[in-house]
């Protein structure tokens, strides 16, 4: 997995609340059997008309935001389905951090499996960063995972919370499965005991 340490970049503003996984990557693109190549269809139905032409008003189609690496989004981002295609599509587009007041549980977890950092901040701070995002190239936002801080364009520093294990994996680009397989003896022991206790499982 790709490491995440620091990031400074242009943030795209998406103040809409409840941006769901069907918006992020509509189901017709879930038919792939690969993880890559979904970036061109990120936000497909908001981004293109039914002829496949770009909708100029949509934020990621605007010149300032075509290479955004950060999204500042409305509350409850990523609600809906468990599709990991949502973070895959965001990452493939080039977005590695989303900042919001809250995330849906499965989407939030899926981000960390793909070297992405979702950041939860209070409304007032998200509002300040949303204003930065509206200024495009003129107001870049910085993120430092080690110190757990986001720095706004004019230098205001906001701290965010993150689970220590998730932080450790992200900073070091660690693969969960490899880590878990180091505990295979515990799994074996649990399985033996559980087979005794609940043989019907």
């Amino acid at each position: 997995m790709e490491k995440f340490t620091t990031l400074t970049g242009v943030a795209a503003p998406m103040p809409l609340v409840n941006i769901d996984t069907d918006m992020i990557i509509p189901k017709q693109f879930l038919k792939t059997i690969q993880r890559t190549g979904l970036g061109k269809n990120l936000f497909d139905e908001m981004r293109y008309d039914d002829q496949g032409r770009e909708i100029p008003d949509f934020v990621l189609n605007q010149p300032a935001y075509r290479k955004s690496e950060i999204l500042v989004a409305g509350d409850n981002f990523g609600c809906g389905s468990s599709r990991e295609h949502a973070p895959w599509a965001l990452a493939d587009f080039g977005i590695r951090t989303i900042i919001s007041t809250s995330f849906a549980d499965i989407f939030y977890n899926n981000c960390f499996k793909n070297g992405m950092l979702p950041i939860v901040l209070p409304q007032e701070q998200v509002d300040i960063l949303m204003d930065d995002a509206r200024k495009g190239e003129n107001a870049r936002i910085s993120i430092d995972l080690e110190s757990q801080t986001v720095t706004s364009a004019d230098g205001q520093v906001f701290s965010f919370e993150i689970d220590p294990f998730k932080k450790h994996c992200l900073l070091n680009g660690l693969d969960d499965i490899g880590l878990t397989l180091e505990k295979v003896a515990s799994i074996d022991a649990f399985e033996a005991q559980a087979t005794q206790a609940r043989p019907w499982v």
């Binding site: 139905e45 389905s81 468990s82 799994i187 043989p199």
Partner: protein, 469 residues
């Protein structure tokens, strides 16, 4: 220390706990479908890892499969066909339990699991699908996971998890006539919002929940994710045990007795700690429909389309966008909204009881909508509905009688809405584009969807019941 049902199931499955509370949780059942698994199986191949517990892994194709009678000729859409073929190959190569498209037991993974007795009380159940919460109806801890986690479970039969908080949703009293499990679950989301359950596992309880059938309980738990919760569950009782007993993969003989001894302990202690409590009175729950593009946009059918200005914060803009997308105007009576299409099915409402409820309304009547389809949740539900004469009632009313699959709930197969087409649906999501680009979805119970099919507009089922009586 007193415990909730969630605490008890959690504690029984912890393999390892780190000092920071990160746990390795053992998974008893892993359900797999064709959309979220190909990359996970490919990951195993690329790393040379083995599938740890093929006997606890159950696979069935459901999202992509066509539901028209000609599906035995194969899947026309190439990408869908490749995905289903990939599941075929993976299931056989890794030796998991498998129900292929042409097996009568095939169906939506969350209907097949309970039907075959794979889902049992006290289990941990996961699937690369957010509606895995359905299995919570049996007193199992069941939730959706992403594809990386699917690969993790395939390789290790565990998940890395931190414990959620406990939330109690109590529905007191008895449901009035015409009000169903779907109305309960939608009303709860209406009350708490789609993020109200974020960070929690919900236990549904109270008289109205106890009085629900197992099918109804599955409908309630199914939509826990729509309220943002990791999982929803209901303590098992005699109804649960009766439903489970005799199913192909349920325990038998001495093992049944041993299982029952444990299952009977699976309830929250009377003085258990709840981090959040929500109480609704069943008497105050009405038949509801959704008006917008989020499952929290729910109102009693007697109400009118709301004014976006009546909301606060970011919801004002979201509601304005939703009304624009849905083609509705504030103040419009919900019962004046005309419907083009009716879809009855999905893991929320594709079980036999749902088909019975719809058929009861449709008997001897004709549909007024342009098209209507019933998609049974499994081949066995379909067979039972045919045996009970329900299929003929649907066909006589003008419904298409389909084969089992997810179908128009998420429209990955050819069952889709056209732009602007308005649908009364028994499924679980009314998101923009969910049932087809530009399609407009109103969520409701099977009986309400059947009523809409007859009148051609959103309809209060209680008016129709009065007519029938």
């Amino acid at each position: 220390m007193t415990k909730t049902l969630y605490d008890k199931i959690w504690d029984a499955h912890v393999v390892h706990e780190d000092t920071d509370g990160t746990c390795l949780l053992y998974i008893d059942r892993h359900l797999v479908h064709e959309v979220t698994s190909p990359q996970a199986f490919e990951g195993l191949r690329m790393t040379g890892r083995k599938l740890r517990a093929p006997d606890k892994t159950i696979a069935v194709p459901d999202h992509n499969v066509p539901t028209t009678p000609d599906r035995e000729n194969g899947i026309e859409n190439e990408e869908s066909r490749i995905q289903v073929e990939a599941l075929d190959r993976n299931a056989r190569e890794f030796g998991v339990h498998y129900y292929p498209v042409n097996d009568v037991r095939q169906g939506i993974v969350h209907i097949v699991g309970p039907e075959q007795g794979w889902t049992l009380p006290g289990m941990t159940v996961v699937c690369g699908d957010s509606h895995t919460a359905t299995h919570g109806a049996f007193g199992a801890l069941a939730h959706g996971i992403g594809t990386s986690e699917v690969e993790h479970v395939l390789a290790t039969q565990t998940l890395i998890q931190k414990k959620s908080k406990n939330m109690k949703v109590e529905i007191t009293g008895s449901l009035p006539p015409g009000v169903t499990a779907k109305d309960i679950t939608l009303s709860v989301i209406g009350a708490t919002g789609t993020a109200g359950g974020t960070g929690y596992v919900i236990e549904y309880c109270g008289q109205a929940i106890e009085e629900l059938s197992i099918e109804g309980r599955m409908t309630v738990c199914n939509m826990a994710i729509e309220g943002g919760a990791r999982a929803g569950l209901i303590a098992p009782d005699e109804k649960t045990f009766q439903y489970v007993q005799g199913r192909p993969h349920a325990p038998k003989g001495a093992q049944w007795d041993a299982a029952m001894a444990w299952w009977k302990t699976l309830k929250s202690d009377p003085d258990a700690h709840w981090d959040k409590v929500v109480t609704l009175k069943a008497e105050e729950i009405a038949p509801v429909v959704t008006w917008g593009t989020s499952p929290e946009d729910v109102l009693p059918i007697t109400d009118s389309v709301p004014d976006p200005a009546s909301f606060a914060g970011g919801k004002v803009e979201a509601a304005r966008r939703a009304l624009d997308y849905m083609g509705l105007t504030p103040g419009q009576k919900l019962t004046d909204i005309e419907i083009d299409t009716v879809f009855i099915g999905s893991c929320t409402n594709g079980r036999i009881e749902d088909l019975r409820a719809a058929a009861e309304i449709l008997k001897g009547r004709k549909i007024k909508v342009k098209r209507a389809m019933v998609v049974p949740g499994s081949g066995l539900v379909r067979a039972q509905a045919e045996e009970e004469g329900l299929a003929q009632i649907f066909i006589d009313a003008g419904f298409e009688w389909r084969l089992a699959g997810c179908s128009m709930c998420l429209a990955m197969n050819p069952d889709q809405l056209s732009p602007g087409e308005r649908c009364a649906a028994t499924s679980n999501r009314n998101f923009e584009g969910r049932q087809g680009r530009g399609g407009r979805t109103h969520l409701m119970s099977p009986a309400m969807a059947a009523a809409a099919a007859i009148t051609g507009r959103l309809t209060d089922i209680r008016d129709m019941m009065a007519e029938t009586a």
